[in-house]
Each structure stands twice: as C-alpha cells, then as structure tokens.
Subunit: 217 residues, 2 copies
C-alpha cells in the first residue's frame, strides 16, 4: 500500500508517520520509485504497537527501546523481555540505585532474588516506604497472602504469553503488564465492596465495637 | 498544647493549620482564653490523616468528605466506609454514569453485584476497554484466575481492618486501599521476572519457537 493508505488504515496522521520513519520507530517501506515506497501489514502492526505503547504511558524514547528490541533482540528471551519491561513507567528518580532495605526484606521473605539495579525493586521500595509513612507498614501476614496470590496472577500472565515470535512476546509482556494493573486494582476495590457487604451487612459501628469487645473477653 | 506546639509536633505549617481549621478539616481546639486554644492528640492525629490522604492523591474537597464521615458517620459501617472509599481517585469523567457492558459481563461471571452508579464500576469498564483497544481483551481463563486471587487479597485486607472505631476503620480502608495498590503492582512485576527466569532460563526465541512447533505437532 502507499503511504496515504497506511495513514487511512492505521489512523495515524501523515506527519506522525513521517516522524516515526525519521526516528526509526517505523521501519522504512520498500522503495517502488524514487519518490514512493510500498508499506505492508508489518507497518500497520508497528503503528498500532507504537500507539498502544504511548497509550500506556511510554514516552517516545522508551518506545524506541521496545521496538528496538523487537528488531534486534538480546541473546535470550528472558533478557529481551526483561529489557523491554524496563521501559515501563514508573521510572526511578535520579540516584535511586542505592540500597532498598524494605524491598530486600520482602523479597527475602518470599524467596525471590533481590537485585537493587532492577527498576521495579526501587518501585517496590517506594511503595513500601509510603505504606509505612501512613502508619500501615507491610506485615508478614499480609505479605504472605499478597505474595502467594500475586504469584498466581503472574503465573497465568506467563501461561498466556505467546512465544512464537519476538514481536508477539514483547508486545504481550509490555502491554499486558501495564494494561492489567488498573483492571486488577478495580477488581480489588470491587471485591472489598462485595466482601464488606457480606461481612458487615447492616451492622452499625456500635455492633462491631461490641463484637470486638466480646472477641477480646 | 498550644497551636505552636501542634505545628511543631505535626510538622504542618501554621498557615496550613489555620486553613484546615477554617475549612473544617481540623476540629477546633478548646478555647483557653479569648485568643488561645488548646489542642490535643486528636488534632495531631487528624493532621496526620489529612497529610496522608493528600499523599495518596485526594484533593481537599475529597479529604473533607472522608473526615466528614469520621465526624458524622452514616447509619451503617458498610455505607460509611463505602462513601469514604468513593473519595479515592481515579474520579469518573463527566457523563460516565451510563451502562458499562464490559464491567457488567465481568461482574456477572464472577458472581458479584453490578451497580453502574458505583465509581469503581466505571473504573473497571475503562480498564477493560483499554485492554481491548490494545488487542488484549479480558478472557474468561484470565478473569477466573484474577478474580479468585484478587478476592483472597481483598479478604486479608478486610481481616486486618480495625472496627473498634469509625476513625480507625475509615482511615484503614481509604489509606490501605490506595497505598497497597502500587505494592501489589510492583510484586506482580517482580513475580513475572522470577517466574520468567524459572521458565525460560537461558532459552532463545528459536528454542521457544521450536518447542511451540513440537507442542502443535
């Protein structure tokens, strides 16, 4: 197809398509004459991916990292996908590569590797510090339940990952990691509501306080 | 304590304390003379709560809703806590109270009540629509696993909720809902990494693709 058709099919404006071509986010078309190039399905797909990555919050520089890994993967699946995932926000603040004591303690307890250079470890440390600062530090009983069930969620995420091509795997890993976070957050809030209705029904705070006193007596 | 001590103990500047008093976010102190008032532990605690609520992203108007519910709870625990939780971001866009077909289908499948007026239902609908738009629509196999494990997470959240006072319950529900979302998101990403290392080890994409071909033959 000609570039005008690519614009029509992808819904990405011509100026943006040209910009992506210049920036190497979109691979060049096949020259059909001195001034024209032919585009195909891979271009439509790449434009959809770039659009989706921008939609989950990746700035252009990080989108370049992701599509660069599709075009030139690292030696192993693990390293390729891992590097692509590092492109996801939130990004560590400058100088955030020190020790992460809360994250280390959590990862040791749940038996996972602690690697302070991995951006998500800094993200976990910040989240744990924020919980502490509002008087709700992570406790072992909460952590054990969270870790077990989050792992089960992560298992199905990996079960469903396509591994037939680099592009499919990277696209799924990056988009799936980002796109299901708000789904999981909303499901948790709705489960709170559902369980709350079950447990408290029409109880007043006085009912609960007297039940609480009975528990302790 | 005098207001100067309250400022020192809470770390909230005098101008802000005065603003919170005017806005009704902080209850007045006990007048000790025409120009002075005495403050106590409840004021220190309230300032800490207002600070924490601002820290998890609540604008002042929503913080007023939360502290208003502590001071004047609704008839039941469920309604009081539910209204306090509605103060949490993300806030529904205007006109977002229509039908939410994706959220409805999901909630019907997992056996939970569908109430389109509840803000989290709109949040779930948006998250599901976003997943669909990047080519990763929620499937039943994924949903069944997500729902089961998210519910277990929500159960421990409610197990650990203090019910001895309105203030403790609301504070825990609002802050805990917000503050553990990024913890859960970081744990999921770290579990992906851990399981990925286990499953793929040092596999290349060629290894996986040939394994994939064998599976299908």
């Amino acid at each position: 197809m000609r570039v005008s058709e690519l614009v029509a099919v992808s819904g990405v404006p011509l100026a943006t398509v040209k910009y992506y071509l210049r920036e190497g986010l979109l691979m060049p078309g096949e020259s059909s004459s001195a001034t024209q190039a032919e585009y195909g399905e891979q271009h439509v797909r790449r434009l959809a991916l770039v659009k989706a990555l921008a939609g989950v919050g990746l700035p252009l520089g990080k989108i370049r990292v992701v599509v660069g890994l599709i075009d030139r993967p690292a030696d192993t699946v693990f390293e390729t996908v891992g590097r692509a995932l590092s492109a996801l926000p939130p990004y560590p603040a400058g100088g955030d590569d020190g020790d992460h004591p809360r994250a280390r303690a959590v990862l040791e307890r749940i038996g996972q590797v602690y690697d302070p250079s991995y951006p998500v470890v800094a993200q976990l440390e910040r989240a744990l510090a924020a919980a502490e600062s509002v008087g709700l530090p992570m406790t072992d009983d909460r952590l054990d339940v969270y870790a077990r069930h989050v792992r089960a969620v992560a298992e199905i995420d990996l079960d469903l990952m396509p591994t037939d091509s680099v592009e499919n795997a990277i696209e799924y890993a990056v988009l799936g990691t980002a796109i299901y976070e708000p789904v999981l957050a909303a499901l948790r809030r709705l489960a709170h509501q559902d369980i709350g209705a079950e447990r408290f029904g029409t109880d007043t705070f006085d009912d609960l306080a007297s039940a609480d006193r009975q528990d302790r007596s």
